[in-house]
């Protein structure tokens, strides 16, 4: 079993985040298209959750006491597939089928096909509601698991998110944690140019949540925030607003995150990107 709060150094977490980026480059190349910059913005978040925070049993994916993780922004599943393989949910060979017909690993996660996926995603705005149901079920069953859901910031423009936010605080779901990958961009441009979502912390607080704002690439801040989550008996859900950079870790993507929301690197650019990321990992 993987316990909560497993020891890991900051350097290892940073390396793990870059490894996620490299794996993502490979998976997207296989599929022929994919979401680079959206995945890169949450690489540290995924690394910290899966290598430090979550209580899991990869050999028993349906274990009722496991902590739940829902990938609200399902389009970054390329960042999750290598992690679940590494933790032993399925053989690493499965990754080679990514992008092919019949692969259990899709561009957006499908809970019926991939072990370790607590809920399917793809349609933005649903998963905070689903997580609310899962957190409610945990309390009803007297189980002490926590439910985490990672949303994009553009996703918060969906009205259903706020229906869920209302319900989660109404039912005092202190076992629920939302993490916003606030990279500031949606598919078509800067998120708040399309529809302003700020100030995020104030909005969640107004909906009855505890809100914490941190640098989403600072693994120490992420670790500390998750280690110090209030006991579920606090009766208040927590929203971690992780301020991130879309395309983080690859200079040209940080400069033009929009261009790399969805795309495919040419072989030349691919080599450059891999060299840049690998250079940091030595």
């Amino acid at each position: 079993m993987l316990e909560r709060g497993r020891p890991i150094t900051s350097a290892e977490l940073n390396r793990r985040a870059d490894w996620i980026r490299l794996q993502t480059v490979d998976l997207i190349e296989q599929a022929g298209i994919g979401h680079y910059s959206s995945t890169f913005s949450c690489a540290e978040i995924i690394a910290t959750l899966y290598y430090h925070v979550l209580r899991l049993r990869p050999d028993d994916p349906q274990w009722p006491d496991r902590d739940r993780f829902l990938l609200g922004k399902g389009h970054v599943a390329t960042g999750l597939w290598p992690v679940l393989a590494d933790l032993g949910y399925y053989p690493a060979e499965w990754l080679k089928q990514f992008g092919k017909i019949g692969s259990p690993l899709n561009d957006h996660p499908n809970m019926r096909l991939a072990p370790g996926i607590d809920f399917s995603s793809g349609s933005l705005g649903h998963n905070l509601s689903v997580a609310t149901g899962i957190a409610y079920a945990g309390r009803l069953s007297n189980l002490d698991y926590r439910t985490f859901v990672l949303t994009g910031d553009g996703e918060l423009q969906e009205g259903q998110v706020w229906e869920a936010a209302m319900a989660a605080s109404h039912y005092r779901l202190g076992n629920l944690v939302a993490i916003v990958d606030a990279n500031g961009f949606s598919g078509a441009g800067p998120t708040s140019d399309a529809m302003n979502i700020e100030p995020l912390a104030t909005r969640f607080e107004a909906f009855g949540w505890r809100a914490v704002e941190i640098d989403g690439h600072d693994v120490d801040a992420l670790t500390r925030t998750f280690d110090e989550l209030p006991d579920p008996s606090s009766g208040q859900p927590t929203c971690v607003i992780a301020r991130t950079r879309k395309g983080k870790g690859v200079a040209m993507m940080e400069e033009s995150p929009q261009a790399w929301h969805l795309g495919l690197l040419s072989p030349r650019l691919r080599d450059r990107v891999v060299a840049e990321i690998s250079g940091r990992m030595r």
Binding site: F119, S120, H126, G133, Y136, A137, E163
Partner: protein
């Protein structure tokens, strides 16, 4: 196929029925089912009144979500992944039509056992305006892969169908028909996906769902008085539906009339026409349904009269089809 003869109400007698049960059979049914099934939870978007009995008996398993239908569907999906069996009670125009995408993506694609109990279907809220009509719900629900769609004919059918589908693995839409007259004396026995044959005849087939069943039964009596023998079916299962019964009855009668408080698009009328076409069965086909046009607003009884959803309306259409 052998089938237990359903005990039916004598439509010419004044039937003593428990009014509270008849109008809220689904509310009473779920309270009783939850007595023996600890996994059942109910959710509702501002329709808690119909769950008074359940709230009284199982307060911890009742979840009010406020006027937020889409959220209620996705919350139920989360509960279902944790071993619970959620029944969502909502007003059909909002609980089904507004939530079509959540039902598809969160429930149907994931094969989750969530039940959508749609109250106030068809024209049951006809006086409130077209926003409150729910006449496309069957079309939407039955287009979704993995959905089961059932439409009980009366309160006894509600009890039977809710009980018999309790352990079904996927999502189910239970379309409660408020306009229904009583058809069964006691809960009839249904086989999953099969229709009940309520009367045998050789001149015309009458197939209804929900309130359409009661209309068919009553119309069949009047037709018999005019020498026209109708073959009558309760199409309680709209997905999966009973294609064998359609082909069998039409081969006997050569004419079929469907009866439903639903749009003529995508409901039972479509089911029958598609099935006959696919099976190469030629027949005279008609429907009593709501036209694909802007619908009128009024009290349900007036609207039923206006659109021919009455025994007399069914008789007239049936006589045209029977060509006797």
């Amino acid at each position: 196929m052998t089938q237990t003869e359903p005990k039916m109400v004598d439509v010419f007698s004044d039937v003593e029925i428990d009014t509270a049960l008849a109008t809220n059979a689904a509310g009473f049914a779920i309270a009783a089912m939850a007595d023996t099934n600890p996994h059942i939870v109910t959710l509702t978007a501002d329709l808690g009144a119909v769950l008074a009995e359940f709230r009284e008996r199982h307060p911890a398993r009742y979840i009010e979500l406020g006027i937020a239908e889409t959220n209620s569907v996705s919350v139920a999906a989360g509960l279902a992944t944790c071993g619970y069996l959620p029944y969502i009670y909502s007003m059909a125009p909002f609980g089904i039509l507004k939530c079509a995408e959540q039902i598809r993506t969160d429930l149907a694609y994931n094969h989750l056992p969530v039940r959508l109990v749609g109250r106030l279907t068809g024209l049951a809220m006809g006086i409130f305006g077209t926003s409150h009509h729910a006449v496309e719900d069957v079309a939407v629900a039955r287009a979704l892969t993995n959905m089961t769609v059932i439409a009980p004919a009366d309160s006894n059918a509600v009890l039977s169908l809710m009980r018999s589908t309790e352990h079904h693995e996927g999502p189910i839409y239970v379309r409660i028909s408020e306009g229904a007259g009583q058809v069964y004396v006691e809960p009839p026995a249904f086989e999953f996906g099969r229709w009940l044959r309520l009367r045998t005849g050789v001149d015309v087939s009458l197939i209804g769902h929900g309130m359409g069943v009661g209309l068919a039964v009553r119309a069949a009596h009047e037709l018999a008085a005019r020498g026209v023998e109708a073959d009558v079916y309760d199409a309680a299962f709209l997905k999966p539906y009973d294609a064998d019964s359609i082909v069998d009855t039409v081969r006997r009668t050569g004419a079929v009339l469907t009866i439903e408080d639903h749009s003529e698009v995508g409901g039972l009328a479509g089911i029958v026409a598609e099935t006959l076409g696919r099976n190469g069965v030629s027949a005279r086909v008609g429907h009593v349904a709501l036209p694909d046009e802007d619908l009128e607003v009024g009290v349900p009884a007036d609207l039923y009269e206006y659109y021919g959803l009455t025994p007399a309306g069914v008789v007239n259409k049936a006589l045209e089809l029977a060509q006797l």
